[in-house]
Amino acid sequence: MKRRNLQVQVTVALTMAAIGFAAPTSVQAQQFTSAKAGSASPAVTAMETASSQGKYLFVYFWKQNDQPTQSMQGIFQEATGRMADEADAISVQITDPSNAAIVKQFGVSRAPMPLALAIAPNGAVTAGLPVSFSEQQLREAIVSHGTAACLKAMQDRKTVLLCVKHRTGPNAFQGAQELTLDKRFAASTQIVEVDPADSAERKFLQSLEIDSTSENGVMVVLTPPGQRVATFAEHATKAQIVERLTELSSACCPGGQCGPDGTCAPGQECCPGGNCPPAKK
């Protein structure tokens, strides 16, 4: 068994080395710890390693080793090198069969190249930067735990019930908890709890226009891909939330169909002011 493990480790190491040398300027995986035996590919191993260490993984996907690819790779390499204490980085050529698993996992075989992805420790893609990007954009990809949790849920196509309160007890946000236990909503909803006292979450809460100094708990509903669609007080009941969500699942212009003069049909106004208020069909 030991011999077999050794063989696997050697194979993984050689494959990783091959990836490293595949492109003249390819980025070496940084801060890699030992690859796990039996992992599908070096890229997948790198994801698992970064995740286990609570670090981000920046993945640089590329197809052809042309000038734009080399140029962006330089920026990627420099930026991720400066973020080595909080993120690992790896370069992935999408046509290399050994990278098929990660390419399939993220569905990037037909994506614009080069493409940089930032993957949070929880598996959420916190930034997808196609073709051209800057160091600043890569830095902004490192987000708070709350942001990453919301992004992950929405990438799994779930509605997020973001519960914000200083000290949450077992009875806090009872309506939200009951909703996630209801079999009609259990598969499509997820509670994410955020402490407004956490300074790391301040920017995230600001973007959602939530007062982080308030003592009152607040629940914000976020729907894929990242729309803030409703806000409730902490004590909102399950019935109130369900009623609002049912209302929201309809729209004044289902499918967004609008006429040239902003009407759905003669005499019927569509999306008044462009800010389409959800209404019953």
Binding site: R110, D156, P225, G255, G274
Partner: protein
Amino acid sequence: MNLQELVWRELFERKSQMITIFVGILLGITTVIAIKNITYYSEMAVAREMDSLGANVLVLPKSVTLEDYYSADMHNETIPEEYALRLTMSSLAGVDNLSPKLCVPVELEGREFTLTGILPKSEFQAKAAWGGAGIFSRPIGCGAIDMGAPAEPEDKKTLVRNRVIDDLEADQTLIGADTAAALGIEEGQSLELMGKQFSVVAVLPETGTVDDSRIFAHLHTVQDMSNREAVVSCIEIVGCCKEISAGLVDNVNKLLPDAKVVTVTQVVATQTKINGMMAQLSMIFVAIIVVIGGAGIANFMFANVYERRHEIGTLMSLGAESNLILRIFLLKALLLGFAGGVGGFVLGTTLAVTLGPRLANVPVLPMPVLALWAIGISVGTTLLASYFPARNAARLDPVTSFKEV
């Protein structure tokens, strides 16, 4: 002799004048009703067209000319499929939905059909949430809100309305209504396309567009079968109206400079303009009827009263009250207006139903509600125009009228 008989005799006393004024009212009302009827159905057709189009922005290869919106993707030019992902991952506000398509011709049972490759939402949906923390501060979209994974299986037939479906397996196909009828295919059966077996998951409802004669399959399957690379014929975008007017098309153009971006507005604008013109025209005719028709009727009535002042005087000297004289003339006007309104409605509707399909290229049906409209305008105009001559007649002094003899 009662009031009814008096009115009836009065009506036919000057037949030529009566017929002239009746024909005037009739033609005016006929024109208004015909225009209103055709305009209504034309607007309905545009609304239906918009509804069936779904998408309101098209991304096409630069060289493609847009003559027919429905068949805008039927050409040999292509754009890279990655454009769809660029749009998905961009921070453009107002893109509610998008659907990349690739069209290739296929032959089945000796007949040519169009095989259209479509990309289900599941292939790119998650990537819309790759925008990082910035996506939370974006404004809410205009379409139906995605509340996450639905509990019930998706109805694939919604493709014709929403232009995109959530999931489609590599070996699944959706068949347009005409194609299904021509090939005798039903849901659940299998179909061989270019040597590959597909299961028919849905026969789409009839739309009256070229979609009825299409066969839909997964985009990547169609690309593989037709030996194409990762390319598409067009990308349909369901955009929000406010953002379209706020420059969504320009922003898409900047993001995809090598593609042509057009809006459905450009395609249906002509039709909408014609509808607007017809609506204005019908209002002008209403004004003409009220002013010219009213003046004609008033003139006719004044002349009528003047010519028949002796008969009026005789009636009054025999004991007829002013009120009776007033009622005779107003009832006469009412009958004339009613007959003109009914006749105008019947003639206008007949014209609209027969000429509408030729002039506006839309089927036109009778609209009973316009009968009230026609009678209202006609009776209102005749009563208004006849009131003052009738009042003059009612105030006539019988002694003065006999003195003139």
